[in-house]
């Protein structure tokens, strides 16, 4: 039963999110709005029900598996990737490195300023 309860809550939030996204024509994926709805709901409720935690954490623990079917879709785009192989490779590596460096540096700086003296 807990699994069903937890899944129902997740699906209901996703459903509400989809309705909201379609209804208001906002350019945000339904599940993302569902996440916000659940977050607000948890804030009101004041705790995470055990059934929801079990189902939700179960899903999140296997998040990587869920990417596989979509990832296999790369095979359909072999032509487009082949055409743009160099731009894609350079962009992925270059931009990921830059993003890591900039984010880490900014957060480190900001955090140090919040804790006067910082860690040395």
């Amino acid at each position: 039963m807990p699994l069903i309860m937890g899944m129902s809550v997740l699906l209901a939030c996703q459903f509400a999110g989809e309705l909201l996204a379609r209804g208001l024509e906002v350019p945000i994926p339904g599940p993302v709005l569902g996440m916000v709805i659940l977050l607000v709901g948890l804030g009101i409720r004041g705790k995470v029900p055990a059934s929801l935690r079990m189902t939700g954490e179960g899903l999140l623990n296997h998040l990587t598996l869920l990417f596989v079917p979509a990832g296999v879709g790369l095979m359909v785009h072999a032509r487009l990737i082949g055409l743009d192989l160099l731009p894609i490779a350079v962009t992925l590596v270059g931009s990921t490195a830059l993003t890591l460096a900039v984010t880490g540096w900014v957060l480190e700086r900001l955090q140090r300023r919040q804790r006067p003296g910082g860690e040395s």
């Binding site: 996440m35 954490e57 990587t64 598996l65 869920l66 596989v68 992925l92 880490g104």
Partner: protein, 243 residues
């Protein structure tokens, strides 16, 4: 009792959702084992390995992706509720988040603008096709969100998912070296950075290699980045004058 010829049996099985489901799970298990045998290197991430194994299998036995997806969609569908479930770790760490709210938000926005800006800039510079460009744009966001965004701005969702996966594994390979280079030792900062740049992969990596605090902040960064990117990306893309 007569035995059905093997080729006839194969025709039945290869079109059945059961086969793709089973093969997906088996490929994943094999990939996890293989990765462990290789010492858990992020260079051969289980997901990347599983995808490579499955593509090789499908090409070998000549099954179309559409046929495969008919079965695999049952796994794929769970991405929706999994995205909703990201609210749970966010809620768990609300106290810490409230304390660090402004630094985190600011770092997140700077990170997203860097990610999307440098992606579009580099890809434009390298002369990528328009479709590739729009598909690359959401690549630092966790897959379910990235696919939704790609669809919205005119990219290709399934290609976006693949590029997101590649981004994740690249981030895990580059991260540790960059942190050493920049002298970033705080696990919370390391985790947040990995979660922002390498989403689910980064989060899994942070939990496994750096620790629980890093993992929690990484999960937060992944959720926050997904949420903010969904709002920001259409605006940034318009700024580059794309669609």
């Amino acid at each position: 009792m007569s035995v059905v010829p093997l080729d006839q049996l194969w025709v039945y099985l290869s079109g059945h959702p059961l086969l793709s489901l089973l093969v997906t799970l088996l490929a994943f298990v094999a990939a996890v084992r293989l990765n462990r045998a290789l010492g858990g290197t992020p260079l051969a991430h289980p997901v990347t390995l599983a995808i490579a194994l499955l593509i090789a299998f499908l090409v070998l036995v000549d099954i179309e992706y559409a046929t495969y997806f008919e079965g695999a969609q049952f796994i794929h569908f769970l991405l929706g509720p999994a995205t909703v479930a990201l609210a749970i770790p966010l809620y768990d760490h609300r106290e810490r988040i409230r304390r660090l709210l402004w630094p985190l938000l600011l770092a997140c926005v700077v990170g997203i603008v860097t990610a999307v800006g440098s992606t579009l800039g580099l890809a434009l510079l390298m002369g990528a096709q328009r479709e590739t460009l729009l598909t690359l744009a959401p690549r630092s966001v966790t897959s379910p969100i990235a696919m939704g965004i790609a669809e919205q701005i005119g990219g290709i969702p399934s290609l976006a998912a693949g590029l997101v996966l590649l981004t994740g594994s690249i981030g895990c390979v580059l991260g540790p070296g960059l942190f050493r280079l920049l002298g970033i030792r705080d696990p919370a900062v390391q985790g947040f950075t990995l979660g922002l740049a390498a989403h689910g992969f980064g989060t899994a990596h942070a939990f496994a290699r750096i620790g629980a605090v890093a993992g929690a902040f990484s999960g937060l960064a992944m959720g926050l980045t997904g949420l903010l990117t969904a709002f920001l990306l259409p605006l940034i893309v318009r700024l580059f004058g794309l669609p």
